[in-house]
């Protein structure tokens, strides 16, 4: 499975936050209640995110990461697919399928750096870079493996 297959039919981050159709007071939802899905969601937990029919007000389909100033960059060559980052990410922004790490959901990642902190590889498979930093440059400048300190 490749990243393309998962993200191909995914609605993740397809709209900017605030790009919904703006309706008048007579059409807003009762009590500011927002529905997460367009249709019956009884079995939604057994479906993968890309197969769920998210409603327009679910933040899943909106880009909500505009205030991020540093971002994690992922290095596939070092990653051992331990899933630590996937477990610890507070915003479910690690994309993983069949226990294989596929990348980072930059539409939801806030740049907290927890994934880097919990990454056990040497060197780390995830490192924080400035938001504007080019990922290819980041990968090219990845640090070397650190030797164990002599005891």
């Amino acid at each position: 499975m490749s990243i393309g297959n998962v993200l191909g039919n995914d609605k993740r981050g397809r709209i900017e936050l605030g790009a919904e159709k703006k309706v008048g007071w007579d059409e807003v939802t009762h009590g500011v209640v927002l529905h997460s899905f367009e249709d019956d969601a009884t079995d939604v937990s057994s479906r993968k995110a890309e197969d769920r029919n998210y409603a327009q007000f679910s933040s899943y389909v909106a880009t909500v990461a505009s205030w991020r100033v540093i971002k994690p960059v992922y290095n596939r060559d070092i990653c051992i697919d331990c899933q630590n980052c996937w477990i610890y990410c507070p915003d479910t922004s690690i994309i993983s399928r069949d226990k294989q790490m596929l990348g980072i959901d930059y539409d939801h990642c806030k740049g907290c750096g927890v994934c880097v902190e919990v990454c056990p590889t040497n060197p780390k498979s995830l490192l924080m870079f400035a938001e504007a930093h080019n990922p290819e440059d980041a990968l090219a400048s990845w640090p070397e493996k650190k030797k164990k300190e002599e005891k």
Binding site: W25, H30, V33, L34, S36
Partner: protein, 411 residues
């Protein structure tokens, strides 16, 4: 299955116990509450009903009034019929969550047993807490005695849960004078009361797993105004629904309530507008002055404080010549709430009665019959003179030099 409670045709209940029985008969699903004088017995008695098997519901003991109303919000959003009670400082602590409840359109019933707000600390009755809640987006009903505390609770569920309304409802009663004074109360049977209140129908309930919902979403300048406007419209539009519920209640109880209660007002020249137990005292004074001094006195009282009966109170007052608006809350550097709102309403009719403001009874200070008669006599003097002869705002029943502010500018 909840046990049936055997009731007499006439029970001797205080306002708190009357409210407890109404909550029991409504078969509330969740009561989350924290005790505070003078409202404690409402939920204390209710807890006893739960323990004794008279209610199929949960009583949740929480660590504060903020938590109490938060528990109510959670249970109501989950899809249950919910109620609680509080007073004074507890109500003040609840305020943040009151706005959440109304914004989320959750039909919670809150018994607010009116008591002064500190400082100085005071457990006695005045309307400070009631006034504190008036912009919270709740429907506010006012009971003047124990019978009405019972009746208004039953009506509160019907009004708040109405599909066109879905708003939380406060039932106010005077601390101690109503809440702790045993009076004759004629309850409905359990069957009739529950039939009147009806089976609870949830809306957008969180426990419907086929349609997951978010409650308490954030909005900024792009959505907030529209949501608050819709909420305000629901509140204003509650007026005919409240009238219909009162009409339905008359059919099962024989007791007729109105958004504005008028007493001897048809030919009245001078009218007192008041809330709570003062209404009944003023009615006695009005009758006395009619019988003994020939003063055509009447009494008008908002049964429904929110939505403010701007239309109905204007109609009730349009033929009188002078109005005394009695506020039992420290006005905090302004004219009293009733004065301001009644004045605004009568400013839009051509008769333009003379309106004056009386601040009284703070912290449980007694209001005497003679003081009420003096207000009517003041108002009569204003009518005869054709202008306001006193200061516009006067404190009555207060020790020390006369405290009064503002006068009519006649040139």
């Amino acid at each position: 299955m909840a046990l049936k409670y055997d009731l007499q045709e006439v029970e001797v209940w205080d306002g708190n116990y009357a409210a407890s029985h109404a909550l029991r008969q409504a078969q509330v699903d969740v009561v989350a509450a924290y005790p505070i004088t003078p409202s404690t017995p409402v939920v204390e008695n209710y807890g006893q009903f739960v323990a004794d098997g008279y209610v199929d519901g949960e009583f949740v003991m929480v660590e504060s009034e903020h938590a109490a109303m938060s528990g109510c919000v959670g249970a109501a959003a989950a899809g249950g019929r919910v109620a609680t009670a509080t007073s004074s400082q507890g109500f003040a602590l609840m305020v943040e969550v009151l706005y959440q409840a109304s914004g989320m359109r959750l039909p919670i019933v809150l018994n607010l047993v009116n008591r002064a707000l500190a400082s100085p600390l005071n457990v006695r009755g005045d309307h400070s807490d009631m006034y504190l809640g008036r912009d919270a987006g709740w429907i506010m009903l006012d009971a003047f005695n124990a019978q009405e505390a019972y009746d208004m609770n039953l009506c509160a569920f019907r009004v708040g849960e109405h599909m066109d309304i879905r708003l939380p409802v406060m039932v106010n009663q005077d601390g101690f004078i109503t809440s702790h004074t045993a009076q004759n109360v004629r309850p409905l049977s359990d069957e009739d009361a529950y039939k009147f209140v009806g089976e609870y129908v949830p809306v957008e309930e969180m426990l419907d797993f086929s349609r997951p919902v978010t409650y308490g979403a954030q909005t900024e300048e792009d959505w907030h105004f529209e949501h608050k406007a819709r909420q305000h419209k629901a509140l204003i539009d509650a007026r005919p629904v409240i009238e219909n519920v009162f009409a339905e209640f008359e059919k099962v109880s024989g007791r007729k309530y109105n958004r504005v209660e008028s007493y001897l007002t048809n030919d009245a020249e001078v009218i007192i507008v008041a809330l709570g137990t003062t209404v009944e005292s003023a009615r006695v004074a009005a009758q006395y002055l009619r019988d003994n001094e020939g003063i055509k006195a009447g009494v008008v009282a908002p049964r429904v404080i929110r939505p403010f009966p701007f239309d109905a109170i204007r109609t009730a007052l349009e033929n009188c010549k002078a109005i005394g608006a009695m506020d039992r809350s420290a006005p905090g550097g302004a004219l009293g709430m009733l004065f301001n709102e009644v004045s605004a309403a009568v400013y839009t009719i051509s008769s333009r009665p003379l309106v004056t403001n009386y601040i009284y009874g703070l912290g449980g200070r007694d209001l005497t019959m003679e003081q009420i008669k003096d207000i009517f006599r003041d108002l009569k003097k204003n009518v005869d003179a054709g202008y306001i002869t006193t200061k516009i705002q006067q404190f009555i029943g207060l020790r020390g030099p006369k405290l009064e502010f503002f006068e009519t500018r006649r040139s």
